[in-house]
Symmetry: C2
Subunit: 270 residues, 2 copies
DNA sequence: GGATTTGTTCCAATATGTGGAACGGTGTTT
DNA sequence: AAACACCGTTCCACATATTGGAACAAATCC
């Protein structure tokens, strides 16, 4: 049987093979808000006790998890180390950064760069207002695509088939009263976003937070991403956001272009 | 056969079992400076072609690697996502942070927080001088313990046996002319560091960069870490560093104490 | 003291991963 | 143009690592 078969399970299913199971366990621990005990994990990942126990042992051996004094498990440092390389070596982020800075100077608000990964947007960079801000507060953070500006912008630039596949896979959680509650409602907005070339988040993910976003697509690298300007709604009106839309689109376009030039068509990084 | 058997290989050996091999491959790709092709990887990880090929396939399926148009592999976004949780959920960093900030205000120089992991120090936080600084420029970065301030400070607070095991495992790379070149020389300095309670890095890792560091130990959590104040040697003299040593020790002590209180003896996070 | 829950260990059955060898494609050399 | 070298992929008999039910302690609750 081939891997990418019928409706690739990826993040929902138990994961293919041994590695898949191990990763499912790892993710269960990483995504939990507090250290997970054996039994907690046993319930998230449905695996026989013996199996789970060995799996955890291996993960600890590998430094992906650490077991604490009270026997509970936490994500290990090896993940940080690996991610550092994954992030600092990311040429896309590197290219985009100057454009993010420029956009920040223009607007004075927080600017995000995020990449689409199935139903999620993963933030890879952020430039924020010069308060005493936590450094990489969001880098690596994953948010649902269907209720964020970048997410919707990115989705809007997918082929219809892909879009529908992802929409079908999406779990619609009503974060605020304005959050899309179903696939049709999302797909309708996507139509509009396609026409406009930019997406808004009207307090759909977090109350009092809204943004404008534009998509960045580099088919040669199978990259679908987006940038956004975000602000608190008491300070940033929708009219203001609409006025910035063109700038955001322009910046996104510049990044797209530069990625194509610097990374070349379809081939390697340098 | 038991896992933690004779001289646990961990990061050198091919890694135990299937997961170990997969991680070895992942690490090989992540630690390389540029996208790795099949053959490149084949040389780093000594595995049969068939095996490696399947391994890579699984890693891609899991989103740990991505394969690009030219068939080369890069670290995938899933790592970032996992690491974000590993980092943002790290209570230790959370507790330490205010102390780092205070130390930064006192000295005006860059302050680091790093955790010891076998022969390496992994940086988990950083507060730096208010230039237009790259955000999380070093978070997750791994540096050798034997030639960094935090590293040596951390090593100094290990039981002698552990220390020697790690020293034996260390690869002594002569980064600068002042870098320790062998285990005895390192062990001798560690003795001194134990007496003083703080460690210096006298341009041992990077030329023109030096620091003072103090260890943080929380045995209940099997945590050995350290903090440091770092500066360029043209601006920060050894005398200056020595003057800060007491402050660094004090901050480290405070963090140690607070971790013990907030995380409780040997048991869970909250 | 007995009952329940939790983490750990054991082991035969078997699914999974192993790795040498063969295959087809691309680009280079003669 | 044929011969060669290199690279990524596929195949398959074999071996090993994973599986998962069940038994085992140890703590915790009633």
């Amino acid at each position: 049987m081939d891997r990418k078969s019928v409706a690739d399970l990826e993040s929902d299913g138990p994961g293919t093979g041994t590695l898949g199971k191990a990763m499912a366990v790892l993710e269960a621990v990483a995504m939990a808000d507090r250290p997970q005990r054996f039994t907690d994990i046993l319930q998230s990942v449905r695996q026989p006790r013996g199996t789970l126990h060995r799996l955890l042992g291996h993960l600890v051996d590998e430094g992906l998890l650490v077991q604490r004094g009270d026997l509970s498990y936490e994500p290990g440092l090896r993940l940080l180390k690996l991610a550092y390389r994954s992030w600092s070596g990311n040429q896309f982020r590197d290219i985009a950064e100057p454009h993010l800075l420029r956009l920040h100077e223009l607007t004075g608000e927080t600017v995000h760069l995020g990449i689409l990964r199935e139903t999620e947007i993963i933030y890879v960079d952020k430039v924020e207002s010069r308060q005493t801000v936590r450094m990489s507060s969001q880098i690596g953070k994953a948010s649902p695509a269907y209720c964020t500006g970048i997410g919707k912008a990115a989705l809007s630039s997918l082929p219809q088939g892909e879009l529908e596949r992802i929409a079908a896979k999406t779990q619609f959680v009503p974060f605020t009263e304005r959050t899309h509650r179903s696939s049709p409602s999302l797909l309708a907005e996507i139509e509009e976003i396609r026409r406009e070339g930019h997406a808004f988040d009207r307090e759909e993910h977090e109350a009092e937070i809204c943004c404008v976003a534009a998509p960045i697509v580099v088919p040669e690298h199978e990259l679908v991403a987006g940038i956004s300007v975000t602000g608190p709604s008491y300070r940033v009106t929708m009219t203001q956001l609409a006025a910035w839309a063109a700038d955001v689109r322009r910046a996104a376009g510049k990044i797209e272009e530069e990625v194509r030039i610097r990374l070349g068509p379809g081939r390697g990084g340098r």
